[in-house]
Each structure stands twice: as structure tokens, then as C-alpha cells.
């Protein structure tokens, strides 16, 4: 139960919880861990995912339509934690479901479920007072996003307020697959390293083994999201865990 990246580069795998269904998400997470994922980012589906591209939008829409709630996501987090005590586990959400539950209650339940940390897509450091208190009170790692557009003064604040790792956004844009990484990715990691010794994970558009290898040359870990969510979308639910397992195993090949 910790965020650590033993092998280089580390692998962070994002899943939209409840797509295709909660039990399958749990099984996929376990398969991903067994095939080399260091950290699972368990995404809480939201009706209005404005930082996400079409792939994760569609997954969120399917999961919301199935009635997936934050409480349900906390439930499978607990199951994943019980099944794989050593893996890193992050809850990934837009702010509103968390606000609706209540920040304190959410943090307590996330800790109880065995999560290591939390990433809130639309939470910036300036607004994070209550959030950081709740994280600290429950020994959870707040992970903030750092963007290529963030000036150094912001990167410094982001690095200083993050725990576990810092999530560097590889490019200016929303989530989604792409054919090659831009120079923004190494540039932002280089700037972030001046402010922190925490591991730096690079995500957005990291889609295949070639990208993972490239990320490994300048960062500690790669985050793979849309490519996995797309694979799940194309695969029969009962085959999804095995398919994701094979895909994750191939990422460090």
C-alpha cells in the first residue's frame, strides 16, 4: 500500500470506474496490477468531464448511465485494495461528486477504502485549503496536475503541495491518444524537477510501449488512460481484464 515506482519507467493505469460495469473495472484493475501497473487511477465517472477527450467522455457517459456513484467507486477501491495490498491506488475525480458527498466524508471514506491518494481534475492549488486539510487528516496523498502552460511559480506551488507523485500533463490539451509525444512533455518535467524530488508521472496522450519508453528517458512514470479505456470499449466485458492485462504487460516490453 504505497505509491512507488520500482521498475523504470513506472506505470500508472487510468480506468473509468463502472465502464463496462463495476465488477469488470475491479477485475481489470487487478489484471493491470498483475501485469506490471504500479498505480491504478480509479476514475469516478462524471456527467460533464470537461478535461476529457471523446474516449473518456463516452466511457463516463456509459458509466453514469449505469448509475455508477462515487460510493460505488469507493466500494471497488476497497475490493482492489483487499485483493492487491501492495499496489498504489489513486481516486481520480471531478470536484462536484466529492463536494456533494462532503470533502471530509469523502477523504475519510477514501482512506477507509485503502486509497493512497486523490487527484481532482478541476482543483487548483489556490482553492485547495480544505482539500489539503482533509487529505492530511486521512494520510492521503494529494496529487496535483502540472501543465506545460503553468509558469514556474505555479509549478513550484504544485510540487510543494503534491504528495506521492506529481502528474505532468504532456501537452496542451484534453485527454486522448496521439501518435507521438510533443516536446512539451520533456520540457515540463525538466522544469518540475527543479522544485521537487517526488516522482513525476507523465500523462495525456501516452498510448503505447514506444511512448512509455520515451517517457522513461526523462520521467519516472507514464500514465496510460484513453488507450486502455478505448481497448475496454472495443472488447467484450468478459474478455476485458485479460485484454488489458496483455496490453499492460506489453507496455514495458
Amino acid at each position: 500500500m504505497a505509491i512507488k515506482f520500482d521498475k523504470k519507467p513506472g506505470l500508472v493505469i487510468y480506468l473509468t470506474a463502472g465502464d463496462p460495469d463495476l465488477a469488470t473495472t475491479r477485475d481489470i484493475a487487478i489484471a493491470a496490477i498483475d501485469n506490471g501497473a504500479d498505480v491504478i487511477e480509479l476514475g469516478v465517472p462524471f456527467s460533464d468531464p470537461l478535461a476529457d477527450g471523446p474516449v473518456i467522455q463516452r466511457a463516463s457517459e456509459r458509466a453514469v448511465a449505469k448509475g455508477t456513484r462515487l460510493t460505488d467507486v469507493l466500494g471497488i477501491a476497497k475490493e482492489i485494495r483487499a485483493a492487491r495490498p501492495e499496489a498504489g491506488l489513486i481516486l481520480f475525480s471531478y470536484l462536484n461528486p466529492v463536494v456533494r458527498m462532503g470533502m471530509k466524508e469523502f477523504a475519510a471514506k477514501a482512506a477507509e477504502a485503502g486509497a493512497d491518494g486523490v487527484l481532482l481534475t478541476d482543483m487548483i492549488v489556490e482553492e485547495a485549503g480544505e482539500y489539503l486539510e482533509a487529505m492530511q487528516a486521512n494520510k492521503l496523498a494529494p496529487v496535483f496536475l502540472a501543465a506545460p502552460t503553468s509558469p514556474d511559480v505555479r509549478l513550484k506551488a504544485i510540487a510543494e503541495n503534491s504528495k506521492g507523485f506529481v502528474y505532468a500533463i504532456s501537452r496542451v490539451g484534453i485527454t486522448g491518444t496521439q501518435s507521438s509525444l510533443t516536446s512539451d512533455a520533456s520540457e515540463i518535467v525538466g522544469r518540475l524537477k527543479r522544485f521537487t524530488t517526488l516522482p513525476i508521472a507523465v500523462g495525456f496522450g501516452v498510448s503505447n510501449a514506444e511512448h512509455v519508453k520515451a517517457v522513461g528517458e526523462f520521467a519516472d512514470a507514464a500514465v496510460i488512460g484513453s488507450a486502455i479505456v478505448q481497448l475496454i470499449e472495443k472488447t467484450e466485458p468478459k474478455e476485458a481484464a485479460a485484454a488489458v492485462g496483455r496490453f499492460v504487460a506489453g507496455l514495458r516490453a
Binding site: 456527467s47 460533464d48 489556490e126 506545460p148
Partner: protein, 422 residues
């Protein structure tokens, strides 16, 4: 002014950890809840806006165009026949419907367009619900020679198709959004995705007093001119302030513009009218402040305000006959005014709004936009309960030309008869 916390920016905070910020707060509402990628752009926008606000040349150019291009000041018109028919307060209409492009939206689109030019941004994006903000933005882009992309829900494109054609005629690209309910909320999300992706070159002209700081403050400031003029006009015509001011509230831009200069005049009642739609169940209306079936505070599209949502925090679908009021959240300054009681919020149903269109058309020869008709509907209820020397001011935020398609479907008009279809 008015007890609002104007846009103050806290510096980034030290290793001791940031505290809850004062970024564009209206009481506890407002703030800045966005993906990090947008933060540099919001900070750049805020700095540029603050500089423009103090720049006499910028303000003079804006005032000149508002006067000579848009037609400000708009009249404050005493609606004599309507007042007599209702038999109560004297009703005055603030004629924002007479502005160039047909609604108050041009006040803000022009202000932000000039700001974009000042910042050297050549590509403009906007969202639109009823299409009035999209038309205003397309117009400003034509005027200033800028590229324009407007996001619009496909449901709204269908019901406001004349405005879609208008935007395209003006040279804008209109991009349909099919996600969610395919209305204003979904158009805003898609515009924000575009902005996140093209933030280095693009200026987002947000059309209501919504979104992350500094938008709610900036949009309100550009619409303040409504109440600045109205206050002077009513003093000239009646020698006193109005008893009450009524305005429709979608995001709340025309209402906050109409209310703002009166916030400290505590005897002036401020009444916002939301879309009551076809019923009080979630999904059937857009009445965020309704006591039954209304919203609760939450975060949508960058700001903390009342939000229609389910008990798991998923944003609710909304319904209104008027595309411009059909939105799940509301500007954060209205949330503050609601909680403090300084303004009160009520709702008019689809049918009440449709009937109000007919009433105003046939008593005054003025065809209001369906959005503005919600304010007229409230005036029709309120005026008879008021005294003869009371003054009721209605902000007539837009004209109804764009709604002919919907009206012809929803109203049965034959000779002297005009009825809402069952």
C-alpha cells in the same frame, strides 16, 4: 459596490500550504475550479482585464462603439397599455431588445472582443444557448476581423436555427455539440475543451456571468451599463427609483447587469426569474433556486454556485422552452444575492412565458425573446398586486425574432385568438 467581493487575486501560497482563496468570491460562491492547463490563461486574462478597466482609451473605444455601433443608451419605455390592463404598478421596459443583434449580449461580446484584440488573440471561441451570444460574438468578430468558432448544442441549433444561419452568414463557424442534453451546458464544456487545447492562441468569450474567475466579474462589469442607464432614466422620468426590478436568469448576465447599480438601494426589490419549464421534477425545469426540486451548491464549469444535480453529484438535465435559460447552474453572484436575501428568485413556466409573449405583443407591439418573456410573465403576476404609484421595471433583455419557429409550433394563432397549444 453592492457588497460583492470583486475579483481579488491571492498570490500563490507558500510551502505552508494554500488556504481557501479569495479568487473572485461572491460570499462563499465563485472561485476558480478548472484544469491546471487553463490557469495561466485565466491569470493572463485577469491581468489584461484589470489593465483595460483602468485604461481610458479602452473604455472610450468601448463606450463609442456601444453608442454608435450598438445603439446605447437603450430606451426606458413606459408600457402604458400593459400597465393599465394589469391595473397596478407602472411598468417600464428597459429596451435591451433594441440593441444591435437583438439582445443585451452584445455589451459583453464587444467588451471581451476588444480585450481579445488588445491581448493580441486572433482566434475567438464562444458557446451559445439561444444563439444571441453566438450572434453577438460573430458580429464582434466580423467587426474586428477575427476568426470565430461558436459551440452550440444540437438541440439548441434545432430550436434556434435562424440564429445558426445568422452566425454562419456573419462568417462564424458553428460547431454542433451532441453530448449530454445537447444544450448550453454541453456547449460550454466543448468550448472549454477547445480552449484547453488552443489556449496559447485563443480567447474564450464566455457569454454569461458564469465560469471561473474573472469571468463572472468581467461579464457583470460589461453589463453594468444597463443599470447605470436605467437608474438615470427612471430618475428623469419618475423622479424616484423603481419599486422593483424584474429580470430573467439563465446564467444571469442580463439580471446582474440590471441589478448591479441598485444593490445598495435597499428599498428596490430585485427579482430574478428562472425557467420553471414544464414541472417541478428534476429534468423538467432550470429553476436552480426552487425550494422543491431546485439545486444545491456545487461546482460546474469552473465556479461554485447552485447546481441542479442528483444526490451523487451528477449534473441534472434541464428543460425550458427558452434555450437561453436552459442551464443547470447559475452565476455565483446570484447565488450570493439569493442567500443574503438581497434578491429573490422565482420561476415562470413555459406556458406562462409563451402567454407573456402574446400579452406584450398585443398590448405594446413589442415581441420579447422567450427568455425575456419569463421576466414579463412575472411582471404580469406582480404588477396587479402593487400600488398605482409603484414603479416596476422589467429588463427586456432581447427580442423575439429568433423565436418565430418555436412560437409557431407552441402557439395557435388565429385572428384575434392566440393560445398555447396543448
Amino acid at each position: 459596490m453592492g457588497g460583492a467581493i470583486d475579483g481579488k487575486t491571492s498570490a500563490l501560497v507558500s510551502p505552508a500550504g494554500p488556504v481557501r482563496s479569495a479568487l473572485g468570491r461572491f460570499g462563499v460562491y465563485g472561485g476558480r475550479y478548472v484544469p491546471e492547463t487553463l490557469m495561466a490563461a485565466l491569470e493572463e486574462l485577469e491581468a489584461a482585464y484589470n489593465a483595460a478597466k483602468e485604461d481610458a482609451a479602452f473604455q472610450a473605444e468601448l463606450a463609442g462603439l456601444l453608442h454608435n455601433y450598438c445603439g446605447r443608451p437603450t430606451p426606458l419605455y413606459y408600457a402604458k397599455r400593459l400597465s393599465e390592463q394589469l391595473g397596478g404598478a407602472k411598468i417600464y421596459l428597459k429596451r435591451e431588445d433594441l440593441l444591435h443583434t437583438g439582445a443585451h449580449k452584445i455589451n459583453n461580446a464587444l467588451g471581451q472582443g476588444l480585450l481579445a484584440r488588445r491581448m493580441g488573440k486572433q482566434r475567438i471561441i464562444a458557446e451559445t444557448g439561444a444563439g444571441q451570444h453566438g450572434v453577438a460574438t460573430a458580429t464582434v468578430c466580423a467587426l474586428l476581423g477575427m476568426e470565430c468558432v461558436v459551440y452550440m448544442g444540437e438541440e439548441d441549433m434545432r430550436r434556434q436555427e435562424l440564429n445558426v444561419y445568422r452566425m454562419r452568414l456573419l462568417g462564424a463557424e458553428v460547431r454542433g455539440v451532441s453530448a449530454g442534453s445537447a444544450t448550453l451546458k454541453d456547449a460550454i464544456s466543448e468550448a472549454m475543451r477547445d480552449w484547453v487545447t488552443n489556449v496559447r492562441t485563443t480567447f474564450y468569450i464566455l457569454g454569461s456571468a458564469l465560469g471561473a474567475h474573472p469571468y463572472p466579474t468581467m461579464v457583470r462589469d460589461f453589463h453594468r451599463v444597463i443599470s447605470i442607464e436605467a437608474k438615470q432614466q427612471i430618475l428623469e422620468q419618475e423622479g424616484k427609483l423603481p419599486t422593483a426590478i424584474v429580470a430573467c436568469v439563465g446564467g444571469g448576465s442580463n439580471a446582474i447587469g440590471a441589478f448591479y447599480e441598485f444593490l445598495n438601494d435597499k428599498n428596490v426589490q430585485l427579482i430574478g426569474v428562472e425557467a420553471g419549464g414544464r414541472g417541478s421534477a428534476i429534468g423538467d425545469h432550470a429553476a436552480r433556486f426552487a425550494k422543491v426540486g431546485g439545486g444545491v451548491p456545487g461546482v460546474l464549469q469552473g465556479t461554485y454556485s447552485y447546481v441542479l444535480q442528483d444526490d451523487a453529484g451528477q449534473i441534472a438535465l434541464t428543460h425550458s422552452v427558452s434555450a437561453g435559460l436552459d442551464y443547470a447552474s447559475v452565476g455565483p453572484e446570484h447565488a450570493m444575492l439569493h442567500d443574503s436575501g438581497r434578491a429573490t428568485y422565482t420561476a415562470a413556466t413555459d406556458d406562462e412565458a409563451l402567454k407573456a409573449v402574446v400579452t406584450l405583443a398585443r398590448t405594446e407591439g413589442i415581441l420579447p425573446a422567450l427568455e425575456s418573456a419569463h421576466a414579463v410573465a412575472e411582471a404580469i403576476i406582480l404588477a396587479p398586486t402593487m400600488k398605482k404609484d409603484d414603479v416596476l421595471m422589467v429588463n427586456l433583455s432581447g427580442r423575439g425574432d429568433k423565436d418565430m419557429g418555436i412560437l409557431s409550433k407552441e402557439l395557435h394563432v388565429s385572428g384575434a385568438k392566440a393560445e398555447v397549444k396543448a
